[in-house]
Amino acid sequence: MSLAESAGAGQPVPAIEGVGISRAFGGVRAVQDASFAALAGEVHALVGENGAGKSTLIKILGGRIRPDAGQVRVRGAAVLLNSPHDAHRLGAWTVFQELTLLPAMTVAENLLLGREPRGRLGLIDRRAMERDGEAMLAGLGIHHIDPLALVQDLPLAERQIVEIVRAITQDPSILFLDEPTSSLMEREVAWLFGQIRRLRAAGTAIVFTSHRWNEIVSIADRITVCRGGTNVGTFTEIGEDEAVTLMTGRRVGSQYPPRPPAPAGETALAVRNLSGEGVHDVSLELRKGEILGIGGLAGHGHRELFFMLFGAQQPTGGEIRLDGKPVRIASPRAAVRTGSGIALVPEDRKTEGLLLAMSVRDNMSLTILSRIASVGVIRQATEQRLCRGIMEMLKVRAAGLASPVGALSGGNQQKVLLGRWLLADCRTLLLYDVTRGVDAATKHEIYELMTRLAGEGRSIMFYSSDAEELAHQAHRVLVLREGRIAAELDGTGLTAEDIVAAAMRDRAA
Amino acid sequence: MTNNVSRRGLLQAGGAGLLAAGFTTFTLPAKAAGKKPYRIALSNSYIGNKWRIEMENLFKAGLLMEPYKSDVKGSWFNSGNDVSKQSQQMSNLIAERVDAIIINAASPTGLNGIIRQATSRGILVVSFDNVVTAPTALKVNTNQYKFGQMGAEWVAEKIGGKGNVIMVTGVAGTFVDADRNKGAEDVWKKHPGITVVNKFTGMWDSATAERNAAAVLPSLPQIDGIWCQGGTDGVLKAFLAAKRPLPPTAGEGENGFRKFMTGYMGQKVQGISIGQPPFLVLISLELARSVLDGSRPKGDVEIPFPFVTTDTVKVGETVFPDLPDSFFADFTDSGDNATVKICVEAALNGTACAGRLNVVLPKA
């Protein structure tokens, strides 16, 4: 594992470069004197902890926000980017971490926003737009996304793909991809990397961020590590442990904690022949103290299954038993209150979980208000203590409990959401892709936390778009395909490849 | 207008295809007039204050009393202060082919179009209180200029032709407000000793008048007289709250004001209470009835304001200590030449009083 600084002088002019960039939000210095350069025809990874300033730096280079200090250069010339539009004109396109698709518009409308085909009288030709949208998707090998569907009806992974398609069909000379893989499955990631390689070969400068080290290794030509808002080194080759040490300033143990022994205890949650929209005849059992992994390709009923167990969607048939007793979960509120309690940490934190304009504290204590209130008035000291405890446990990086969640980095938002459900103290936890967009060190903490919670006898049902994670964390993995359980895999000795293989084995097999 | 004309109009406008179906009757057959009972509808704009409620109650009570009980089949509608809605309701009344429509309009001009359509179809339109400008509508009202003049003259005389007065005006943009102000201002001009030290709107509403008076009072010198278009009791309450003596006051017919005239809250005010009478609706009803049965030619009616002063106000007749301040105590006329005499229950509940209702219209 050689640690090689890339040579400084005598290099070609970078396609895009930020020099001495700083940007603060109120008191928070998101980016501080950071310098970064990406060359044409390279994939340059930007890595760092949650809140290290990666997204902020990308937003500055992509024209979305303006730096307080520093200079942006495109192909050697200093430029002033006042809006994304300015960046677009210079050939720089960005897939932002928090997606920027317009929810109530169709996929085609989103893909062609700002470059709609015109018909007579210069009016937008809707038929041509559908055609072009479909052609764009098909041209990139995507046939399963309906160009006429509304974006708000798509699962997150498909939205992410649409957003990526929109950027790469602009023929960018500079492309920023801010955590594009966080909600994608293996196969979709492979598709994306294929696209990235193609663009790289065509001379595009690609900046890529991810918290999954294997992805970084497989695609990046160079890696820049960020910490605390600044760049701490750029490498052509670096090992994971070194990189993590550099990101965090401390040593972090190996990624996956030892799995506790599989429990043989009683059944906490039993599902019999559950059917409904997207879910067909699913039966499963979740024991106390068990971590049950749910795997499979996105869009195959995971989301619906989790929603049904949480009462956010109603099944049309089947039975759910909690601690042996049949229950009907009419709403999320009921789920939290049913027996020992069921909690769901949802996928899309922006629309399904967090109240972005409200404070970290308010977001965390939302489900436990009745518990910490006396005569309807919230006991502030208790609230403060509980929230602070969770915040420290999860290492949420925020200016304070009072800062609005919308101001946190993506990974930190995810932690707040997780914190809420930890506070709620439910015995059954449905974790839906909780490590999405979470940095390596925190992921490790979440794994440890899961192990600990399971050790305490809580049951965890855990979906992840990262098969690697499932393979290492779960006692058992159920693979869903087209809404049915396609395989049940035992955790010991399980590999990510096994899960992917089970997910993709065609129906005949 | 005939079908041919309308059709041609459509063709010219290029919309014949669009409007292909269904318009065979653009005019309604003329109504066979002169058959009792007459169908008379009251189209009121908004019903948000006590005055309007009393007015509508009087109308309902009137319909229950002879001669209206047998001569008239009445109905009433409110539209809020929404011209389109009132216009829509009037269209429906036209479609129903009523004999007469009595209106208290949301706008003096906004209904002119529909009024013209009503009268051209032989429907009698009588407007009162907030009267309309449409020439084909009959108007029943008081002389608002005289309201302003009468009150101002009384105040001027009481204060001996000199001193400071305030003017509390009404809802800007209405004829009533403008005419009342003009009546008062013409009087002030004749008395160089009188200074109008402030002029603010009370919106004909006691709460608003009180709030606005309270806001301006601290900045004002001694005030010798009040001239108020409405919300009079509110203005006086603001004076009390500011610990100012109550000067001679010309105001509206609010029960609260009249209570002050007989002694209220430890104060007794010298005053003249001139009311826009809610019984204008009964005058309009009588006018409609008598025009329809041919006993009176078409023509506008103006009635004098009923008024009382501190010297003439009478408990149980023109002031009611048990009723709220916001009640309009001028629901009935008094004295020998009274135009309308009706009981308090009629104004309060819309129930009939004993006997016949005798409405005396001024000579045509």
Binding site: S83, P103, G114, G122, W191 | G15, L19, F26, A95, G173
Partner: protein, 330 residues
């Protein structure tokens, strides 16, 4: 190239279109239903069906509201709100009463000038909202009072004489000529939806930061929305003046609220980005139908407001419920 697995369950185009314009279809259905109920009640009480007079007067009475609703739609679609609609109608109505005279040149010239005034008033709102970054509700509440104040200055007392010829064009009492304007509005809206501005208005109503990230000029779009709102409010002012052949500087006031009611009935989301001005027009006609239905059902006028409120709540709830049902089925 490895592609994500295909799960080809495409919905046909028509199904998509139906689903995506469900709120609009619901409002049209609501309109159809209210017309049927009206005809039934009318038939029961008058023993004949409503004819040309009823159609003409309903259309004429509803035109100003339909115009105001279209104007309001533009702003609400950007996730704003325009409370100054009433003030703009007041002011333009007042100017019309004072300015329009009996010559064709005066009628055409002043009509255009008054529309321009409306646009200008909208521009004031737009600048304050988009450039001044103030809350739309505050800005337009303030300008509402200001415009009302100026209107009273322009026309202190109701009056003025709008030539009959003007009324015959905009609010003809003998034939429902105004239906042509409705048709033009619908057509115009469909064209507008296919312009860059149309797309931008929907985009910023959907998600303003996302729209900005996509290179849409948020400021210019918002300003344009308020300008359009002002222009259509001015058109409403002209229609009112034409119908009354006179002006009144206070007649517009009620339109602030009723225009919002109309677009909500029409399925325009107050949270922006979803809806259609055509729905707003339908909503305007639904409110007129409600007035008619209550009239001919001869309920006690004292309870009229109650029933009107009840109808609105039921209508909106039913629409939301049906919409929800279909979304879940789909």
């Amino acid at each position: 190239m490895a592609a994500p697995q295909a799960i080809a369950t495409r919905r046909p185009r028509l199904a998509h279109a139906m689903l995506q314009s469900a709120p609009l279809l619901l409002s049209l259905a609501m309109l159809a239903a209210s017309i049927v109920v009206y005809c039934a009640i009318y038939l029961a009480s008058q023993h004949r069906l409503p004819g040309g007079f009823e159609l003409t007067s309903t259309v004429n009475n509803t035109m100003p509201l339909a115009m105001a609703a279209v104007g309001q739609s533009f702003v609400v679609l950007t996730r704003g709100i325009d409370l100054s609609v009433g003030g703009i109608i007041d002011l333009t109505n007042a100017v019309a009463a004072v300015a329009i005279h009996d010559s064709p040149a005066s009628m055409v010239g002043w009509s255009l000038a008054i529309l321009a005034i409306g646009a200008l008033l909208g521009l004031v709102n737009g600048l304050l909202v988009a450039v001044g970054r103030l809350q739309p509700i505050l800005v337009t509440l303030a300008t509402l009072s200001i415009f009302q104040g100026i209107a009273i200055r322009v026309l202190p007392q109701p009056g003025g004489a709008i030539p009959d010829a003007y009324g015959a064009v905009l609010a003809n009492v003998d034939a429902p000529i105004s239906l042509i304007y409705v048709a033009l509005l619908v057509l115009g809206w469909r064209v507008f939806r296919r312009t860059r501005l149309g797309v931008s208005i929907f985009a910023i109503g959907n998600d303003e930061p996302a729209a900005a990230a996509n290179g849409i000029d948020v400021r210019r779009t918002k300003i344009a929305a308020y300008v359009l709102s002002g222009t259509f409010s001015a058109a409403a002012g002209l229609f009112l003046a034409a119908a009354a052949t006179a002006g009144d500087a206070t007649t517009g006031n009620s339109y602030t609220l009723t225009s919002i009611v109309a677009i909500v009935l029409g399925g325009v989301s107050l949270f922006g980005g979803r809806g259609s001005a055509v729905g707003g027009i339908a909503g305007a006609f639904v409110t007129s139908m409600i007035v008619n239905i209550l009239f001919f059902s001869h309920i006690d006028p004292l309870y009229q407001n109650f029933y009107e409120g009840l109808f609105l709540v039921l209508a909106v709830t039913a629409a939301a419920g049906i919409g929800h049902y279909f979304r879940r089925r789909a």
